[in-house]
Amino acid sequence: MIYLDNSATTKPDRSVLESYTKISTDFWANPSSMHQFGGEAGQLVERARSQAASILGVNTSEIIFTSGGTESNNIAIKGIAIQYANRGNHIITSKIEHPSVREPFEQLAENGFRVTYLPVDLDGRISVDDLKNAMTEETILVSVMHVNNEIGTIQPIEEIGAIINKYPKCFFHVDGIQGFGKVPLDLVKSKVDLYSLSAHKFYGLKGTGLLYVRDAIQVASLLAGGNQERRIRSGTVNVAGAVSVAKAMRVSMEKYNKYLSKMKEMHSFLYRELSEINGIVMNSPLAGCAPHIVNFSIPELNNEVFARTLEEKQIYVSTTSACSSKTRALSKVVSELGKGDKVAGSSVRLSLSFETTQEEIETALEVIRESIEKLSELKK
């Protein structure tokens, strides 16, 4: 069994599971409760908050625990737009964002905001000049993802931050969900104001995540209630979940330090070998790509059939992002690369974890070669 769908979700690390289970067993109280049980649970949440903050190089008070990446993105985008609507009504994002960013923007557009969607080049990268030209005095929010979930392109976050920083009324949100633990990012240096994470993408559990919100910033909350989490996110705090997020971050950084160079080597190898196969068009950029994602298209073949052929050999990949797997259509992201519908309609993503081995990659390559040959034969 070779699991190459780690961008959809990762296998949680054993220590994260242990930590979740231990906290659930021993410290299950409601951290808002005033008694000892509550106090102990609260202390654990605060410790997790401070660990998460220190890994991100930010202040403890700047971490808000959420139910995952989608919620973090929704809070950041709608929360800023609603809170600061009186400052301006222009917001900017890219054309290749995850639906959990794109759709909130679409909703804001329906509610009277003017949205600029920045295009991307053949590599899937926005142009910093485009951003410069789009910025106005009315712009209150720019949201650009760090690493694209389908093709792995890394955006120039630091340069983007520097531009936005010249507009004091404008906030900068980064969807860091695919980047964290794979591609370094200095939030402070890059002038990032809000940053979303989802733990199941880096050895944590589904339904847990966080949002970094710079201290000085207020965000309108989307959930009214008990005013937990700096009044930004009401609802009983998922104590074991929060602790497991911090644990997953630590585990993830340890693996990053140990195995990054190995992952990079495998990634280059995989990229090189794939690009030499007849019938494959590479979608991931050669340079400036996250080390865990390789995306290509098989324009003459059906990518769903291809994925099923691989699955028969117990190799698990994905055809579009998992979140939209149900709607069989062109990949929105690959479409934006401007390589035509055939390419956009036949993309395949392989995504690695730090546990992926060279052997697995070689086996997968072999099966990929065979399958393409076989399916091409059948077509003739």
Binding site: Y3, D5, A8, T9, T10, R14, L17, T21, S24, T25, W28, A29, N30, S32, S33, M34, H35, Q36, F37, G38, S67, G68, T70, E71, N73, N74, H98, P99, S100, R102, E103, P104, H200, L205, K206, G207, T208, L222, L223, A224, G225, G226, N227, S234, G235, T236, N238, V239, G241, A307, E311, Y316, V317, S318, A322, C323, S324, S325, K326, T327
Partner: protein, 376 residues
């Protein structure tokens, strides 16, 4: 010193079977339910199995269940969705003075947006009057949101009668079922509700998961979007393992409901009897309340000191709901029950119990309370 936890209305310990189920599944089933390959499919099975359990438990169809991150999200989603879908039909909302903040604060926010909200009073037993609901209804009423069981004193509201009244009115009916789900029989068809929210952590399940029932055919607007999950009603990768844990918690509750109810009644009775030793008021209604919550007011003590002292001797109770904790504001629920008796809302202790609570715990808790109240 063995500590005693009598704050099950705030949150509950996870049932050992729930922990076992989750720990087992966690290492095995980790696919993304949206993935089409076998990892995804087996994860999706977990989610749908709990969905079916919930549906069966409340007399709904599986497609009517939307998983959420908890009670607050369920309440917010239901209310915002209802007013959005009905905004052309009126701007009047009816709720009660004793709702949880996850309803009250949404209503206050809606008032700022121009909606008119009627906050119905309750009687001294904590019950909303069906007559009051009838009288408050206007042609332009678009939503009625009333909790099934109050979290501070346990009164069960006449939801079925209210549902009857609303049956031939345009208003949508939302019920906060967070303290009711699994604790009392609950059938959405009988109750004629359009939305019902619940949370797993109140029934010995994990935190961070809950559900919202949305009646088939009722227009729905998601609060959180950006993915096709939950039939586009709640975007975000599903919290698969916690959902499976929630399913287990429901199963355990269903198997033991009679036993749990009997036990809680017994604990309730013991607390009442033991507290005879000191002057007090019982705020929970004698009839028509869930047995696992007992709210009591005392005379002439400082509630802050009382709680602190109880905590020192290892007794965990609360004065109001945990969510408004952080400060000991007088309980809005008790204020609604006794508008003319400010003290009564000030000095409230809520005992709430469940899994693991013993008769001995109840006796000790009452005795410790008496000791400390007398000392203070």
């Amino acid at each position: 010193m063995k500590r005693i936890y009598l704050d099950h209305a705030a949150t509950t310990p996870m049932h050992p079977e729930v922990i076992e189920t989750m720990s087992k599944l966690m290492g095995e089933i980790y696919g993304n339910p949206s993935s089409t390959h076998s990892f995804g499919r087996e994860a999706k099975k977990l989610v749908d199995s709990t969905r079916r359990k919930i549906a069966a438990a409340i007399g709904a169809a599986p497609q009517e269940i939307v998983f959420t991150s908890g009670g607050t999200e369920g309440n917010n989603t239901a209310i915002f969705s209802a007013v959005r879908s009905m905004k052309d039909k009126g701007n009047h909302i009816i709720t009660t003075q004793i709702e949880h903040h996850a309803v009250l604060n949404v209503c206050r926010q809606l008032e700022k947006q121009g909606f008119t909200v009627t906050y119905l009073p309750v009687d001294q037993n904590g019950f909303v009057s069906v007559e009051d609901v009838k009288n408050a209804l206007k042609p332009e009423t678009i939503l009625v949101s009333i909790m099934y069981v109050n979290n501070e004193m346990g009164a069960i509201q006449p939801i079925q009668e209210i549902g009857e009244i609303l049956a031939d009115h345009q208003a949508l009916f939302h019920v906060d079922g967070v303290q009711a789900f699994c604790k009392i029989p609950l059938n959405v068809e009988k109750l004629k509700v359009d939305f019902l929210s619940a949370a797993s952590h109140k029934i010995n399940g994990p935190k961070g998961v809950g559900f919202l029932y949305v009646k088939k055919g009722v227009p729905f607007f998601a609060l959180q979007f950006g993915g096709d999950q939950e039939r586009k009603r709640r975007a975000g990768t599903e919290n698969t393992i916690s959902i499976a844990g929630f399913g287990k918690a429901i199963e355990v509750y269903e198997k033991n409901l009679d036993l749990y109810t009997e036990r809680n009644k017994n604990i309730n009775q013991i607390l009442r009897e033991e507290l005879e030793g000191i002057e007090h008021f019982i705020n929970s209604p004698k009839e028509g309340a869930v047995p696992n919550i007992l709210s009591v007011s005392f005379h002439d003590v400082c509630v802050q000191a009382l709680l602190t002292n109880l905590d020192i001797v290892g007794l965990a109770v609360s004065s109001g709901s945990a969510c408004s904790a952080g400060s000991h504001e007088p309980s809005h629920v008790l204020k609604a029950m006794f508008p003319d008796d400010e003290d009564r809302a000030q000095i409230v202790i809520r005992y709430s119990f469940g899994l693991g609570t013993t008769e001995e715990d109840a006796r000790k808790a009452a005795r410790k309370t008496i000791e400390i109240v007398k000392k203070l």
